[in-house]
Amino acid sequence: MNALRRNVLKGAAGAGTVAVAVAAGLLKPTQALAAAPRSAFEAKSVGDVLKNMGASAPADSKSITIKAPDIAENGAVVPVEVTSGIAGTSMIAIIAEKNATPLVADFNLSGGAQGYVSTRIKMGQTSLIRAVVTAGGKSYTAAKEVKVTIGGCGG
């Protein structure tokens, strides 16, 4: 009787371990989803961001259009729209060069997604907004200056 009880407990503990392993396994894919590693988001300079993204020397391109205001009154909400005319655009990243962590967001496009993203970002101070586009394994970039009158990153 007692032995059976032990076995039942052991079985329960075993099942528990499997469940934990499955949960741990499930967590991994979510963390590996974004192509730019989290280290790129934590980088403190534009050079480090590009290095971490694996796009250290992007070529300037006139086919990338950045639509953002010339002067943003409120740095907490700066609308930014990036359109890439480069065929086969697979990634668009938005970088606010003088932010504490310059990489704001990256977008990996697949399926029928067009080379276009639109979002709203925070800017600590007047700086260049840089778009980095990957197409066919190559990196391209363009930048636009946005003047900020009230920063959106401070307290």
Partner: protein, 104 residues
């Protein structure tokens, strides 16, 4: 914590225009509380995924540099009215949310 998201998808020619609004504080972890002077802990969306009829179209990574209540707009070609768009996000505290819309 996960508050509702708003999503809209409309056809413009042969391209679907998808617009998403996510409710999220997007705290960078660098901002100080005006009253206490303490840093407000980081709490922001780290990833956003979008699919059309189950096929992945967009996979985004974000930092605290995206504005509060993030707006995201993107365009998808080769889809038709009636297709289902699903957008989901996850944040650095493990919160997540999903919203879906039918392209109209």
């Amino acid at each position: 914590m996960a508050e509702p998201m708003r999503i809209r998808a409309t056809m413009a020619g042969d391209v679907a225009d998808v617009k998403v609004l996510m409710n999220h504080p997007m705290e960078t972890g660098l901002r100080k509380d005006a009253k206490t002077g303490q840093l407000v802990p980081a709490h922001y969306i780290t990833e956003v995924n979008a699919t059309v009829n189950g096929a992945k179209v967009l996979e985004a990574g974000m930092s605290g540099g995206v504005s509060k209540n993030p707006y995201l707009g993107f365009k998808v070609k080769g889809v038709k009215a009636g297709d289902k768009v699903v957008v989901s996000w996850a944040d650095n505290k493990g919160d997540k949310n999903t919203a879906e819309a039918t392209i109209g």
